[in-house]
Symmetry: C2
Subunit: 355 residues, 2 copies
Amino acid sequence: MGGLKTQHRNALPVPTRKPRSSRTGRATMADVATAAGVSAMTVSRALNRPDKVSEEVRARVAEASRRLGFVPSRLAAALATARSMTVTVLIPSLTNSVFIDVLAGIQETLSPHGYQPVIGVTGYTPEEEERVLRTQLASGPDGVILTGLDHTPATWDLLRSIPTPVVHTMDLAPDADDALTVGFSQFDAGHAVGRHLVERGRRRIGLIAGQLDPRTRQRCDGWRQALVEAGRHDPSLELMVPDSTSVALGAELLERMLAAHPDIDALFLCNDDLAQGALFHCARRSIAVPGRLALAGFNDLGGAAWTLPPLTTVATPRHAIGVEAAHLLLAAMNGRDDGPRSVDLGFRLMVRETT
Amino acid sequence: MGGLKTQHRNALPVPTRKPRSSRTGRATMADVATAAGVSAMTVSRALNRPDKVSEEVRARVAEASRRLGFVPSRLAAALATARSMTVTVLIPSLTNSVFIDVLAGIQETLSPHGYQPVIGVTGYTPEEEERVLRTQLASGPDGVILTGLDHTPATWDLLRSIPTPVVHTMDLAPDADDALTVGFSQFDAGHAVGRHLVERGRRRIGLIAGQLDPRTRQRCDGWRQALVEAGRHDPSLELMVPDSTSVALGAELLERMLAAHPDIDALFLCNDDLAQGALFHCARRSIAVPGRLALAGFNDLGGAAWTLPPLTTVATPRHAIGVEAAHLLLAAMNGRDDGPRSVDLGFRLMVRETT
DNA sequence: TTGTAAGCGTTATCAC
DNA sequence: GTGATAACGCTTACAA
């Protein structure tokens, strides 16, 4: 029926014709085709596989294309090829620079390959993550990158049900199951801090944590384990609150901790912003650091090396995690999903002057 | 068709049929339709306009849809409706928290309305911005949010050529032309700092700036103007470098400044990270702040209130800019693009203890 | 209330 | 090397 030439139609009351690009007003391939005196298919080829087309046609198409300001519709291409050139990236929060660093690594790596990261924010809850994932899956991403391994059962099902490769970041797969994972051991990192404090000869070692996501908890677990091993663990010295971390919160929690346990001589703060707040509070209250109180943070965020005194903390490979996750995903999206399943990028204890 | 049991296939050399969803393996509306014993159109309605469908059919569709794990393809919908439910957001950098704050405001505002922000990174250059914009436009966003007003002529042309609404952020339109703009006066903000330093009685007031994008330049211009007005401007006290700002750079540049001009008694650092670096350096070198040297930063980033002494700086409405930009865009995308063309969200000079 | 037909703008496929 | 045709999966008419 496509054979029925439109021109023959008007023998009768012609319904509104469509001589050119429809609603959007944008030029389509068909427009370029007519302008260049070739078929739409040839335009497509001239643009995507220039070598498959004669020199002359290529030029004519380029010219017409430019003249009409033609921008090929990725939507249509995506629908036709089943490749959206899009990658869904889900992170807990936009305002936590930890995830932004990962995101930056992802974006830098994906971008040169023509993939668009599309970010979704989960607010640290697996339920919201599931919701957002479901929404995003509707746009048919070619890949998915998630934060952590703590997903709802339904999310796991969803992930299994799609043909799309998935990479989990910031953590390590507990067992070598079928998930692609890039991160480091949060437990070991926390353990390293605990041991460091012990080795410094501290006896009353406390813990302050906020934003109790699974990764924070693992850090705390590691720290606790180290103290237990050294026989110096006192559960009453743990102050864990669900609030999101901030410099202000660090100061406030330290105050509370000191009020209840004036005798602590070391403190692990599960994120650098908390540690900076604590450090600030110490300065205000003239508490000698590390003399009277040793302080250790986590993540080695921007300012950590520039506090007074410079903060002992754990440097985490956030950017590298993003880069590696993207690499793994790229490989998988191109059918090469052999590589290692769980990539451990490690961490580094940065011993500076607060311990 | 779905009724045809696979087991009966081998009766005849049946040509490859397509009883179910094609390449992607995902269920399609047609699949759900057959499963629910209705037409595809009815499925579409049941999902998008439930009130247009009988109670019973709605239930059957929901049931079938759930059973098949049906996820409607946004791609197809977008192609059919010419609405992608997507908004292109271009920012200079992912690692500068200034833009992340704006982005967060945008995402929070857009998300509840079903719009997906798709971010693009321009690396602070108009040329790259043009390239990224061109790429993104191919996916047919329903709206565009750009950073600043400094675009290439080709970019302006592009923007004019599309039916899509556009909002520019972080700055104010010089004249009330036809661009939607949300921001504040960078010039005035810089001017306020300059005047403040003058009013504090400082005589040798210097300037340190990095990341010389148009907005930074405008801040510097404002500052300069204030000093000129007070008759205290000395061009040799300006130290401007193209490098991206960081705490480390702040310390380094202060050192250079002091070496060349030991007599300065006040300094405007065009970004808080520079200011924090300078502050740190002062502490190390035992330079009294503000006694011997007054320091003012810009942006009121996270740690600014928590330095020792707390940093005087300018609080900029980054989050609010994102929120407002998104609101303006939403209005425009819904056809109500009347509102004010240039929204000034102002700024606040936060006088703390470094001045 | 529900179904039919056509089309959105590409690309895969198979002729020519 | 080029072109006609049929998808891709959905929705906007319009018809029943």
